[in-house]
């Protein structure tokens, strides 16, 4: 919809496209990118709302939820007080929505779709119709997930990991979840094929692989992860559907007794099979969440340090290596399942190895600041905040990757703190940086910097108030996914941290108000800017803002690397990729 206001200029150029084909069933990568972005942001807001409800129960167990308690219905809550089944449903759906419907569609479907073809100088994605299909399949998957809240027994409540046999004996919402996941996986597959083919086939003349912006590289690796890691989950989903609907025993061992009743499964299945297939996807999925974020941060940092990225090639090799290794570390999620010494040593070793390229990328980004000239605008603030936040998220992964330390920390709040530091102040901050950075390209206007700075400072403070206490809770031994941790003495003793964390979450929610206002108000009231307001070098800034259908007036030719800033002897401190000679 945001597009609607900004295409006045080229309306009359192609009157053959009706409103529906232009803004709803469009094959233009930019429209699809905006559709993805807006849908994903709405899902992020929804997923965050779910967790704000859960945080009330965690902070004040058994107390009715103020304001919206009555909206929760009879399955999830009783007279406005959340029930354990409601808590589990919200928890499972929070995870699913944030990962599969929020962040990945935002940073891959949204930013990838919009920015990547522009950055490689392509007129569109390689398969525009497939691109459209990908969005609408994603949309349907999202709708199935939302509708599952109205299924008997509520939405899926076995965690976003859906461990069997719990998920097999769970309520009907789980079946909806599986169907929704099949749609989301299909969408991701269509998208990833499109991304890879576009990057391989449609690069502008002169744009070699090592002249690609780092963001394109991160999207390229991410697309491979989605392409090859998602199918096993699709297979696992099919197996779980068979278990649920046809009574097979893929994940069901012999002699299951649920609620005192011997279950009618033949048995012979393995609960660990689900975990293997699930984590074969879900570990690469973690890198799907973080790699595009690193790409965006690299773009913003290079632009605002007015200096080439330090170690560009090293970063590229690191990101490829990360993608490759992410396929063979998955069982570090399963150390506690009774794993032996040899295989745990193998997975611990690969886990330690995979930390090195992350360290390299982070170090390279920090060294890029050295002897630079840092321009503190809003996208840069978010990008800079990404670095220490991601560092905390990454470093706290270390004790979890060591099998012996994992004994105590596995499945505690420590894990929650760890991965939220990676995806919330990590990826979501990177996404904010991206939104502030590319907003002028999409709309031709900038977002209000004052509101942006308020948004940044409040978000930065409160996101730490939310997640830092989780490490304390986790160290104290509080398990994750507890409806009421005060049931345990060790939970009761750190309940104060839980309450602080909850307050942080609600304040973080309030902190997004300036952003939402800014996002919509700037569509009309934002300052109009030129095609290249940040004085950037990459190709998307060579196109008009907003770019017309087909993107570039003349097909660009690339002459140099992506980050030629402050080149000595130049009049201006940036040297765009598509200029043959510096402007005199």
């Amino acid at each position: 919809m945001t597009e609607a206001h900004h295409h006045h200029d080229d309306h009359h150029h192609h009157p053959e496209l009706g409103w529906w084909r232009k803004y709803v069933f469009s094959t233009d990568h930019k429209v699809i990118g905006v559709q993805y972005t807006v849908t994903a942001l709405l899902f992020l807001l929804f997923g965050f709302t779910l967790v704000m409800i859960m945080r009330w129960q965690l902070a004040y167990p058994g107390k009715p939820i103020p304001l919206i308690g009555g909206l929760l219905g009879k399955t999830l809550a009783n007279d406005g007080t959340l029930l354990p089944e409601g808590y589990n449903a919200l928890g499972a759906m929070h995870g699913t929505i944030m990962v599969f419907l929020g962040i990945v569609p935002l940073i891959v479907g949204g930013f990838g779709n919009y920015v990547m073809p522009l950055q490689i100088g392509a007129p569109d994605m390689a398969f525009p119709k497939l691109n459209m299909a990908s969005y609408w399949v994603y949309f349907c998957g999202g709708m199935v997930m939302l509708l599952s809240f109205f299924a008997p027994g509520g939405a899926a409540n076995s965690g976003w990991t859906s461990y069997a046999p719990l998920s097999v004996v769970a309520t009907q919402g789980q079946t909806w979840w599986l169907f929704g996941m099949v749609l989301l996986i299909t969408s991701s597959l269509l998208g990833s094929i499109n991304f890879i083919v576009t990057i391989i086939q449609l690069r502008a003349k002169g744009l070699d692989f090592f002249k690609l912006p780092f963001f394109v590289w991160s999207q390229f690796v991410t697309a491979f992860l989605l392409l090859l890691a998602f199918p096993p989950l699709e297979a696992a989903g099919a197996l779980q559907l068979m278990d649920r609907l046809a009574g097979t025993s893929f994940f069901m061992p012999e002699g299951l007794v649920v609620s005192g009743i011997v279950q009618p499964y033949t048995g012979g299945g393995s609960p660990l099979l689900w975990q293997h297939l699930f984590w074969f996807l879900a570990h690469p999925e973690v890198y799907v969440l973080i790699l595009p974020a690193m790409g965006m941060v690299a773009e913003v940092i290079a632009n605002n340090t007015r200096k080439p990225l330090w170690g560009y090639r090293l970063m590229v090799y690191s990101v490829i290596f990360l993608g490759f290794m992410s396929f063979i570390v998955w069982a570090h999620h399963m150390f506690i399942t009774g794993m032996g010494t040899r295989i745990s040593a193998f997975f611990a070793t690969t886990t330690m190895i995979i930390s090195i390229p992350s360290v390299i990328i982070l170090t390279a980004l920090v060294i890029s600041l050295y002897r630079s000239s840092i321009r503190y605008n809003v996208p840069m603030l978010f990008a800079l905040a990404f670095l220490p936040m991601f560092a905390i998220g990454g470093l706290t992964g270390l004790p979890l990757g060591l099998p012996a330390a994992d004994i105590q920390l596995h499945d505690t709040y420590y894990v929650i703190g760890h991965f939220h530091y990676v995806v919330a102040p990590g990826t979501i901050f990177a996404a904010f940086a991206g939104i502030y950075h590319w907003y002028p390209k999409v709309t031709g206007r900038t977002m209000n910097p004052a509101l942006g700075k308020i948004h940044f400072v409040l978000s930065f403070i409160f996101i730490n108030v939310v997640f830092m206490p989780m490490f304390f809770q986790g160290m104290a031994g509080v398990s994750r996914r507890l409806f009421d941790q005060t049931f345990y003495q060790h939970g009761l003793d750190v309940q104060g941290w839980t309450q602080l964390s909850s307050w942080g979450a609600w304040m973080l929610g309030l902190s997004q108000v300036p952003f939402i206002m800014n996002f919509f108000m700037s569509l009309r009231a934002g300052r109009k800017v030129s095609d290249n307001p940040w004085e950037a070098t990459t190709l998307e800034w060579a196109a008009p803002s907003p770019p017309p259908h087909g993107n570039f007036a003349t097909v660009p030719v690339v002459y140099r690397g992506p980050y030629e800033y402050s080149v000595p002897g130049q009049k201006k401190d940036f040297f765009p990729q598509h200029l043959a000679k510096a402007e005199a």
């Binding site: 090859l228 297939l277 794993m339 032996g340």
Partner: protein, 120 residues
């Protein structure tokens, strides 16, 4: 890939040859399965024949023999590595159980009739 008609005609002969080979190998794999070498042996022979047949299909019918595009080869190579990881690591994990782990939780099977007195 060459598009000339002469090449295609040559290809056609290869197609028929591969068809013959596939048909014969199907018969062979059925015939071999009637003999019992050993558990591992039968699996190895059957999978070896299947792999050979599959590579014939991939090489000739799917034109991999004439395929020069590096992108396709890269994609297939990466896919192959992860395919092996996916096939091998779960079963390796399950076979590396620490000592004293038992693969049962009941002493009597769910489907079995109630056991009579037995001495431990």
């Amino acid at each position: 890939m060459a598009g000339a008609h002469a090449d295609i005609s040559k290809h056609k002969r290869a197609y028929y040859a591969v068809f013959a080979a596939l048909a014969v190998l199907t018969v062979v794999t059925v015939a071999v399965a009637q003999f019992h070498f050993s558990d591992v042996g039968n699996v190895a022979v059957a999978l070896a024949i299947a792999a050979f047949k599959a590579s014939l299909v991939a090489a000739i019918f799917m034109h991999l023999k004439w395929e020069k595009a590096p992108s396709i080869w890269w994609a297939l190579a990466i896919c192959g590595i992860f395919f092996i990881a996916l096939l091998a690591l779960p079963v390796l994990t399950n076979s590396d159980n620490p000592p004293q782990v038992q693969h049962t939780m009941w002493d009597v099977r769910a489907g079995a009739a109630p056991a009579a007195h037995t001495s431990h």
